[in-house]
C-alpha cells in the first residue's frame, strides 16, 4: 500500500474518531490511556493531555478492580457490547454510561490493548426514569402511603418515609432528613436522617434498595434490617440539630411560609443553614413542608450529594405531593405516640399502687384491674377481667350485701368500709366511688381495696398482750388463792394415806393423786400466761443507752458529772429492753456513786465479734483487787445503809439471761470500766 494512502486513511480515521460525538478512548493492557478524543474530553472533562499516559481516569475508585478484571478478559479476546455502568467525570460527579469495549490488535493480530466507546446515557436514564415515575407515581404514592397508614409507630413510620424518599426508584434522592416542629420549644428538631456516608456506600445501597418487584413485607424488612441503619452517621448528626423557629433560614422559612424551597447553589443563598452546608457538605438541596390540617408539623430535606444530579421541577412536584400524603400519617402517629405514652404512664402509676384498684360496671363486670389485683388473686388478668366481681373477689354467685361496690350500685354514692373476706382469707379496707359517663349516667365504680389483714392481726396481738399483762397480775393472785388450798389438800391427803389402812388409805391416795393432776394443770396455765409477759424485741443499742443516760441526767447535773457519749454503732440487739435498761441504770448508778462529785462518765457503744458492747467508764474511786471478785454477790455493798446490795447482782443475772457477759477493769483512785457484751444474734 502506498505510504501516502496509508497516511491519508490514518488521518481520516483519526479525524473521524476525533469528530465522533461519542467518547472514544484506547488503552494498553495495563489500562493506560493511549488515545483520547474530543468526545471523551467533553464527556469526562479531562483534556487529552491530562488523560494520556495514566490509568483510565473515568473509572470511579470503587470500580477500578472490576475494570482491571475486564481488561484481562479483553486480552483474552472478549468484547463487551452496550454495557451500562457508572463513570465519573473530572469533578467527581457520577454519570450513567453505556460502553462498548473491544480488543485492539497490532498488525501481527496480537492483542495490545482495548478501545472503549462510551456514551453518556444519564439523560436517557433520567428520561426513562421519569417516564416510569410518571406511570407509577400514583400507584406508588398510594402504595407508600397505604403501607404507612398501617403503622402507628412513629419511629418506624419516619424511617419508611425517608427510605421512600431515597430509594433509587422511589423519589431517588441521595440523602434525606426529617425535621419535626417542637411546639413547646418553638424550634425545628432533627428526627431522623437517611443516606449513605460515602459514594461507595451509596452505590451499594442503591443497588440493593428498590421498590420494584418487592412485597410490602420485603420493603419493611429492608427498612428495618437493611443498609439504612438507624445509627448511621447522618442519623446521629441530625438528632443533634435544633433550629429555633425565630432564626431566619431556608428550613424555618419552609415552616413559616408553608412552601417548598429549592436551593440550587448554597453559595448563592445566604439563608442556607450552617449545619447543612458545613456538616453535610451539601451543594444544592430542596425542602418541603409536612402540612397536616393547615399546620406545618415538620419538613423533609433532601439533596443529591453523591451523584450531583440536579433537582428538577418534577422532583420537587413529587416531593411536595409525597409530603402532603405523609404529613397526616405522621401527625396521627405522633398523636398516637403521645397518647400511648400518657397511657403507659397511667398504667405504670396504676400498676405501682400496692392497693388493689379495679373498676366494675353497674352489672358487676370487672373492666380494669391493676397488678396488685392479679397478684392478690393469684390469677392472670385475662382470668379476672370480664368476670363478675362477686365471683372473683367473693367466690359467690351473687353480690355480697356488705360489698361497697354493691352499695354504690344501689345508691350511686361513694362508700368506705371494712370487709372481712373469707374467700380471700383477709380483711380489707375498701372504698368504692361511682363513675358517671358524659351524660351523667351511672356506669360503674372504681374500687380501691387495701389488705389490712396483717395490721388487724398485729392489733389483735397487741390487745391480746395487754390483756395478758393484766391477766398476769390476776394470775399471781389466782395462783395464791387456788394453789395454796390445793397444796394443803394434797399434802394432808398424802399424810392421811401414810397413816390410814385399807379402803380409807386408798381414798386418801386418790385425793392426793387427783390434786397432783390439778396442780399440774394450774402450773401449765400459769406458765403460759407468764411467757406472754416477758418479750424480747429488736432494739437499737444506742437508743437503749440514750434512754438509760437520760434517766440519770438530773443526778449527773447535780453532781457536776460530765457525760461523754460516743454512740454510733446503730447495732440492733434482740433483748427485753426493760431489763437491759435496768442493768445499765445499775452500772451508771454505781459509776455516779464511785465519782461522788465532779468527774466524767464516758459511754461508748461498739461491737466485738458477735457482740454489741456497751462500755461505761468512770473517773471514780475504783474497786480494790480484794473486793473485785465479790461485787456481783447478793447484798454485797460498799455504799452503806439504804442500799440493797442487789444492784450488780441483778445486772449480772440479767445480762447472763441475755447470753451476754460483763467485764470489769478497775484501778483504785483511777476509776472503773464496765463492759457489757450482748450477743448480736439471738440464740433463741
Amino acid at each position: 500500500m502506498d505510504h501516502s494512502l496509508v497516511a491519508e486513511i490514518k488521518e481520516n480515521l483519526e479525524s473521524i474518531i476525533e469528530s465522533f460525538p461519542d467518547s472514544i478512548v484506547t488503552f494498553d493492557l495495563n489500562g493506560i490511556v493511549t488515545s483520547w478524543n474530543k468526545g471523551a474530553e467533553e464527556m469526562y472533562g479531562f483534556s487529552k493531555e491530562e488523560a494520556m499516559g495514566r490509568f483510565l481516569p473515568f473509572v470511579p475508585g470503587f470500580l477500578v478492580d472490576a475494570e482491571r478484571e475486564k481488561i484481562v478478559r479483553i486480552r483474552n479476546g472478549e468484547v463487551f457490547k452496550d454495557y451500562e455502568t457508572i463513570r465519573q467525570n473530572k469533578d467527581g460527579a457520577i454519570l450513567d454510561a453505556s460502553l462498548t469495549i473491544s480488543p485492539l490488535k497490532d498488525t501481527g493480530g496480537r492483542i495490545v490493548g482495548g478501545i472503549c466507546i462510551s456514551r453518556d446515557i444519564s439523560d436517557k436514564k433520567r428520561i426513562e426514569k421519569e417516564l416510569v415515575r410518571r406511570n407509577q407515581e400514583l400507584s406508588r404514592l398510594f402504595f407508600i402511603s397505604s403501607a404507612m397508614r398501617g403503622t402507628l409507630k412513629l419511629d418506624r413510620l419516619l424511617r419508611m418515609i425517608l427510605t421512600a424518599v431515597t430509594m433509587s426508584d422511589g423519589l431517588g434522592f441521595n440523602r434525606a432528613i426529617l425535621f419535626l416542629v417542637d411546639e413547646n420549644k418553638d424550634s425545628l428538631r432533627g428526627a431522623m436522617g437517611v443516606g449513605p456516608a460515602s459514594t461507595e456506600e451509596a452505590f451499594q445501597i442503591w443497588s440493593r434498595l428498590s421498590l420494584e418487584q418487592k412485597t410490602f413485607t420485603d420493603i419493611i424488612r429492608d427498612i428495618e434490617t437493611g443498609p439504612l441503619r438507624k445509627d448511621s452517621f447522618l442519623d446521629k448528626l441530625c438528632l443533634s440539630i435544633e433550629i429555633p423557629l425565630s432564626e431566619e433560614t431556608i428550613l424555618t422559612k419552609t415552616v413559616k411560609e408553608k412552601k417548598s424551597f429549592y436551593v440550587q447553589d448554597v453559595k448563592g443563598e445566604p439563608l442556607s443553614d450552617f449545619v447543612l452546608t458545613q456538616q453535610l457538605g451539601t451543594q444544592a438541596y430542596a425542602v418541603a413542608p409536612l402540612i397536616s390540617r393547615d399546620r406545618v408539623i415538620g419538613i423533609i430535606w433532601v439533596d443529591n450529594h453523591f451523584n450531583r444530579r440536579p433537582i428538577f421541577e418534577e422532583d420537587m412536584r413529587f416531593l411536595s405531593a409525597f409530603s402532603n400524603q405523609v404529613a397526616s400519617v405522621v401527625e396521627s402517629a405522633r398523636l398516637f405516640e403521645q397518647v400511648a405514652l400518657a397511657e403507659q404512664e397511667m398504667k405504670n402509676i396504676f400498676d405501682s399502687i400496692s392497693d388493689m384498684v379495679f373498676s366494675s360496671t353497674k352489672d358487676y363486670v370487672v373492666t380494669k384491674i391493676n397488678r396488685a389485683v392479679s397478684e392478690r388473686l393469684g390469677k392472670p388478668p385475662e382470668e379476672i377481667i370480664g368476670k363478675k366481681c362477686y365471683e372473683v373477689f367473693h367466690g359467690r354467685n351473687e353480690p355480697r350485701r356488705k360489698c361497697p361496690h354493691h352499695k354504690t350500685v344501689k345508691t350511686e354514692k361513694a362508700y368506705v368500709g371494712e370487709l372481712d373476706e373469707p374467700y380471700l382469707r383477709g380483711t380489707f379496707l375498701t372504698s368504692s366511688s361511682p363513675i358517671f359517663d358524659g351524660t351523667g349516667e351511672f356506669i360503674g365504680t372504681v374500687h380501691v381495696a387495701r389488705d389490712i389483714t396483717e395490721i388487724k392481726k398485729l392489733q389483735q396481738q397487741l390487745v391480746m398482750a395487754q390483756r395478758m399483762a393484766a391477766l398476769g397480775e390476776v394470775a399471781a393472785r389466782v395462783a395464791h388463792d387456788i394453789r395454796n388450798p390445793l397444796v394443803s389438800i394434797g399434802g394432808f391427803a398424802k399424810r392421811l394415806e401414810k397413816s390410814l389402812e385399807g379402803n380409807l388409805k386408798d381414798y386418801a391416795g386418790i385425793i392426793a393423786r387427783e390434786v397432783a393432776v390439778l396442780e399440774k394443770i394450774l402450773s401449765e396455765i400459769l406458765s403460759y400466761i407468764r411467757e406472754v409477759g416477758l418479750e424480747k424485741r429488736i432494739v437499737n443499742i444506742d437508743y437503749l443507752v440514750e434512754e438509760a443516760t437520760a434517766v440519770m441526767k438530773s443526778e449527773l447535773d447535780e453532781k457536776k458529772i460530765t457525760l461523754v457519749k460516743s454512740l454510733n454503732t446503730s447495732l440492733d440487739v434482740l433483748v427485753d429492753p426493760g431489763s437491759v435498761r435496768e442493768a445499765l441504770l445499775n452500772i451508771l448508778s454505781n459509776a455516779i456513786h464511785a465519782i461522788g462529785n465532779n468527774g466524767t462518765i464516758t459511754v461508748k457503744t461498739s461491737f466485738e465479734k458477735d457482740y454489741a458492747v456497751i462500755e461505761i467508764q468512770d473517773t471514780g474511786c475504783g474497786i480494790s483487787e480484794e473486793i473485785l471478785p465479790f461485787i456481783f454477790d447478793p447484798f454485797f455493798t460498799t455504799k452503806g445503809s439504804g442500799n440493797t446490795g442487789l444492784g450488780l447482782t441483778i445486772t449480772h443475772k440479767m445480762i447472763e439471761k441475755h447470753h451476754g457477759r460483763i467485764e470489769i477493769e478497775s484501778k483504785p483512785h483511777k476509776g472503773s470500766t464496765f463492759k457489757v457484751f450482748l450477743p448480736l444474734k439471738s440464740e433463741e
Binding site: 394453789r483 388450798p485 397444796v487 398424802k494 399424810r495 400459769l526 447478793p634 447484798f635 441483778i650
Partner: protein
C-alpha cells in the same frame, strides 16, 4: 438443825412443819413479816423457807433484811406463783413452787444444809 417456815397460809404452814419435823428438823413458824423477823433473830434458824406474798411485807423485802443480817443463811423462796424470771428472787439460794408433793423441797433443804 432449825428451819424457819414463813407462810401466811396456816394449813400449809402446818403441813410444812409436820413434814419437816418428821424429817428430823426442828421447825419454827411465822405467818407475817414482823413475826418472821422476830423469829429470825430470836431462834437463829439454820435455813428459812419464805413465801413471797405476805400480808404485811413483801417476801423480797424480808429476804433482803435477812440477808443483810446474815448474808450466808440459805433461804428458799417458796411461792404459789412462779416468779423465777423476776430478778428480785435471784438473791435467794433456791426457789421452789409450792406443791403437795414436798419431796423436792425436802431434798433442797438437805442439800443446802449439807453445804452449810
Amino acid at each position: 438443825m432449825k428451819i424457819l417456815v414463813v407462810d401466811d397460809d396456816l394449813p400449809i404452814q402446818r403441813l410444812y412443819k409436820e413434814e419437816l419435823i418428821e424429817e428430823g428438823y426442828e421447825v419454827v413458824v411465822a405467818a407475817n413479816g414482823v413475826e418472821a423477823m422476830a423469829m429470825f433473830e430470836s431462834e437463829n434458824p439454820d435455813l428459812v423457807t419464805l413465801d413471797i406474798r405476805l400480808p404485811d411485807v413483801d417476801g423480797i423485802q424480808l429476804l433482803r433484811q435477812m440477808k443483810e443480817k446474815r448474808p450466808k443463811i440459805p433461804i428458799i423462796m417458796s411461792t404459789a406463783y412462779d416468779y423465777r424470771d423476776d430478778f428480785s428472787v435471784w438473791a435467794s439460794e433456791a426457789y421452789i413452787v409450792k406443791s403437795s408433793d414436798l419431796g423436792e423441797l425436802k431434798s433442797m433443804i438437805k442439800t443446802l444444809l449439807v453445804k452449810k
